[in-house]
């Protein structure tokens, strides 16, 4: 099964790192990049996104606020907050929103583990 992954990060370098890791791990999956929460919400409401990788520290609406908005319409979409801000409080808030947490610097191992879990969850929802 091929899925479409949304990448949300204001940093071009961070998007490059996430996109190249994604291409190594799941070369057949599609990806769409956005640079802020508003663009991300447009992409999500368009309905074509299956999985989202969201930076925490962004200008305007931060990653956790964005996840909360996505949850209103997509309670089960696999979402991960990707951040170097590994404070227990941030990771805890991600968990409360039923989102994963992938630390920066991004490693293929951490991203692969999240994507495998996400693929499993999506399979269960649409058998």
């Amino acid at each position: 099964m091929q899925y479409k992954v949304l990448i949300v990060d204001d940093s071009k370098l961070a998007r490059m790192v996430m996109a190249s890791a994604l291409r190594r791990i799941r070369p057949d999956w599609a990806l769409v990049e956005t640079t802020n929460a508003a663009e991300a919400l447009t992409a999500v409401s368009g309905g074509a996104v299956d999985i989202a990788l969201i930076d925490f520290n962004m200008p305007g609406i931060d990653g956790l606020e964005l996840v909360a908005s996505i949850r209103k319409t997509h309670p089960n979409m696999p979402v991960a907050v990707v951040s170097a801000n590994v404070q227990n409080e941030i990771i805890g808030r991600a968990r409360e929103l039923n989102a994963g947490f992938v630390p920066k610097p991004l490693t293929d191992e951490a991203l692969a583990a999240f994507l495998s879990g996400a693929a499993l969850r999506l399979k269960k929802v649409t058998p």
Binding site: S11, L13, A14, M16, N57, A84, Q87, E89, K104, P105
Partner: protein
């Protein structure tokens, strides 16, 4: 050194150096992961100095053209975290992160982006670890880039005067195979030192209360 409020005792200085060490070690491990090469670190220093004195400490070998990525933080105590290095080494640092396969034009093009994101990852790693060790929460700003001498970086001429005392924690890093070295520094405003003392003492007391034989 004569500071009226909140001078730190030896044990407090020790504890603070240890906490800073945990933070900057995480920062160094993040940097190492990003550049894929060994990063050497000095022993961390903790000092109460004027802003002006702090600004001289980062002008090593009288290199006054510096670049810094900085993030301010707020929480139980407030201040700024900075990743500082000589401007001449900026492109080499970016190249070590984006990879040697990129052309010089690409590297120049990506410089601002790459510095901001690198600073973000390194400084967040440092501050978040400190917050976790102390069981406190800290809010951090977005990263910004400053270029200039030490006085510009530390706003010696700014609203807070250069003569004002600050708590200055720093460690120097060296990327072994490349000619890149710099500092990871924390600059804390003195009004929050009283708060800091309380927090550091909570940390010390928690260690003393640990049952014997408990590790980690």
């Amino acid at each position: 050194m004569t500071v009226d409020t909140g001078e730190l005792t030896d044990i407090e200085q020790d504890a603070l150096a240890e906490i800073a060490n945990m933070g900057v070690s995480r920062a160094a491990s993040n940097l190492r992961q990003m550049v894929g090469e060994q990063v050497l670190l000095s022993v961390p220093s903790v000092k109460i100095v004027t802003r002006e004195a702090a600004s001289k400490l980062v002008e090593r070998e009288n290199v006054t053209k510096l670049v810094a990525v900085q993030q301010s933080f707020e929480g139980p105590f407030a201040g700024r975290a900075l990743l500082i290095f000589p401007e001449a080494q900026s492109l080499e640092l970016v190249r070590s992160i984006v990879g040697d396969q990129h052309s010089l034009e690409d590297v120049i093009d990506l410089e601002q982006e790459a510095l901001a994101e690198t600073g973000n990852i390194i400084l967040n790693g440092c501050l978040a670890t400190i917050a976790n060790v102390l069981h406190r929460t800290m809010r951090m700003s977005l990263p910004s880039i400053v270029r200039g001498d030490g006085a510009t970086l530390f706003e010696v001429q700014g609203p807070a005067s250069g003569g004002q005392f600050v708590l200055f924690l720093y460690i120097d890093f060296n990327i072994k195979k490349r000619d890149v070295h710099g500092f990871i520094a924390l600059l804390m405003d003195l009004p929050s030192i009283a708060a800091l003392k309380t927090i550091v003492n909570d940390f010390i007391n928690a260690i003393e209360k640990q049952p014997s034989g408990h590790v980690g």
